[in-house]
Symmetry: C2
Subunit: 338 residues, 2 copies
């Protein structure tokens, strides 16, 4: 299998962009050629990759012809404008933004969950939202053998999902608080240093924030199940990396807890960390910079006939963004679609 | 109404003990006499209260006769040993520990929720667990008119619930992380600075941690409803003060959201902070050092016929501990039971 293609990366200077380069390198992918794009203000900056220095190009001035695969991670507006152009120029676009996820013509793919959806692509493939990806890697193996009727999920999401400026403001606000100084405002409507809030992305008319609506709609699209009921509360917490999720499932049929445990431990992309009596369960610090979805606190929910609880942690920049994109690319190669 | 009684406070040097003194003073309660108790190692230390200096007595060397009301907040073992002795010596004991909460002879009271339970007391009254108190203040008004069938709750609990040493370790680990030094270990099995974990109190054989079992058992006892189904996941987060809770309710009957909103805004002990489009919802920093239970993100849960979601934040040391104890005392006086 050869991974030698002409690769482009839009949003190369962002938090996810940097992870894309790290993951490509770790996966042993040596591009035939590589072009890095960002906004005009980053034009001309240098980024090293595999012993070579690359100059960042401004996305709005570029000609995209000759590229075979282009990863986008530069925000919804940039994707809306440029993904179709890049796809038209001949590349397969793997877009990390929200721009095309709801589009029925665009596959929304977690490679371990719905790889077959890739077959319908028309040049554009969407990477799901970070909190959706890790939840689906964890629950899809169960859903396949014992359909999930309802999900109640509360998230504990790190600031890196917002970007580099959010990582910086968490650091600054935390330092100021510890120094008994007034923390600087910025990035979020409330202080995030030693604080948290149930507000991710904008609020919609229905009272949900868009992150919550994403979890509902994307889960249904990826599982190809419009009936699955989902009730999310998405919360930003003062953590740098990794999202955690308290997931409660109502299954259709009775189950043996030991069988669910065995199933999950054999499922791709999952690592069980589940020995609470020895303080073993995943925490954000332990899961940082890894590609697996970590599951702990697997336990029966006695408040329901077929209830199941789990605690799911994963690196939002990697598994929830860059690595999922790279895995899509690898799957395309593996299935000879590129 | 007179609040002039001989008051004792066991655990006076702890995080909750200090709050007890602050709340007594704020409520305008001038004790006839005050005695402060702690462990032997704090014996002889001085604590100022209402312009007077008090010397801390060792609880194990003390004679408790003459006291009328004694607040305990010194851990379960101290309560187990000394609460019965103090009650026998003639005082009404208001115990903040887990020691007697499950005892059918001991009322477990949130004054806004089940004040009548006080009437059955035999010298000993239990203060519920912090995460239970704030949830019950928020949901009891609804339960009275539209019985709750099932609760799924995920918590975001501050370190102050563990005590002063946990506040210190969060500060130290955070400082070390920001300085790129190795954070010191301590208090918790995992680092809490820039980290979080679904582990509060010890783990039980059923896979729950005891904090989760407390929320189940205490809710049932306080609401006098053994059928109510409760599924909690309790999580420690890197926050100094206040617990937050994502609460999902399945009600028995259909409801109008506007009516629930009106009901809650008129209920004692509750403050609505619910205007998400203007970024208004409670956060720990905003609710610190207040006695109310703050509710935001009140919204219908569309995944269920009679589903309701809310976000509940309150100061765990005050509303969840000291203030609830003081409110019990005030209620006893008001009902002429002391």
């Amino acid at each position: 299998m050869t991974f030698s293609h002409s690769i482009g990366l839009v949003g190369a200077t962002g938090a996810v962009g940097r992870k894309f380069l790290q993951v490509l390198n770790e996966q042993g992918i040596v591009p035939k050629s590589l072009r890095l794009f960002a906004s005009e203000k980053s034009k001309g900056s240098k980024i090293a990759f595999q012993g070579k220095e690359y100059t960042v190009e401004a996305v709005n001035e570029s000609d995209f012809s000759g590229l075979q695969v282009v990863f986008f991670s530069a925000g919804t507006e940039i994707s809306q404008e440029y993904c179709p152009k890049v796809a038209k120029a001949g590349a397969i676009v793997i877009d990390n933004s929200n721009a095309f996820r709801a589009d029925p013509e665009v596959p929304l793919v977690v490679p371990e969950v719905n790889p077959n959806a890739l077959k319908k692509h028309k040049g554009l493939i969407s990477n799901p939202n970070c909190s959706t990806i890790q939840m689906l890697v964890a629950i899809a193996p169960i859903h396949r053998i014992n359909p999930i009727k309802r999900i109640v999920v509360s998230t504990y999401q790190s600031v890196s999902g917002t970007g580099i400026e959010a990582i910086e403001i968490l650091e600054k606000q935390t330092k100021a608080t510890l120094a008994h100084e007034k923390p600087p405002a910025g990035v979020y409507p409330h202080q995030i240093g030693f604080n948290l809030f149930p507000h991710i992305d904008i609020f919609l008319k229905n009272g949900l924030c868009r992150e919550e609506e994403k979890m509902i709609n994307e889960t249904r699209k990826i599982l190809e199940d419009t009936n699955i009921a989902i009730c999310p509360t998405t919360v930003r917490v003062p953590i740098f990396y990794c999202h955690s999720e308290a997931v409660n499932l109502e299954l259709s049929k009775p189950f043996e807890l030991s069988q669910v445990r065995e199933l999950l431990s054999k499922s791709p992309g999952i690592k069980m960390m589940d020995d609470p009596n020895n303080n073993v369960y995943p925490t954000p610090l332990q899961c940082q910079d890894k590609d697996d979805v970590f599951i702990g606190r697997l336990r029966r929910d006695e408040s329901l006939s077929n209830g199941l609880n789990m605690w799911v942690v994963s690196d939002n920049l990697r598994r929830g963004a860059a690595s999922n994109g790279v895995f899509i690319y690898q799957r395309l190669v593996q299935d000879k679609m590129i």
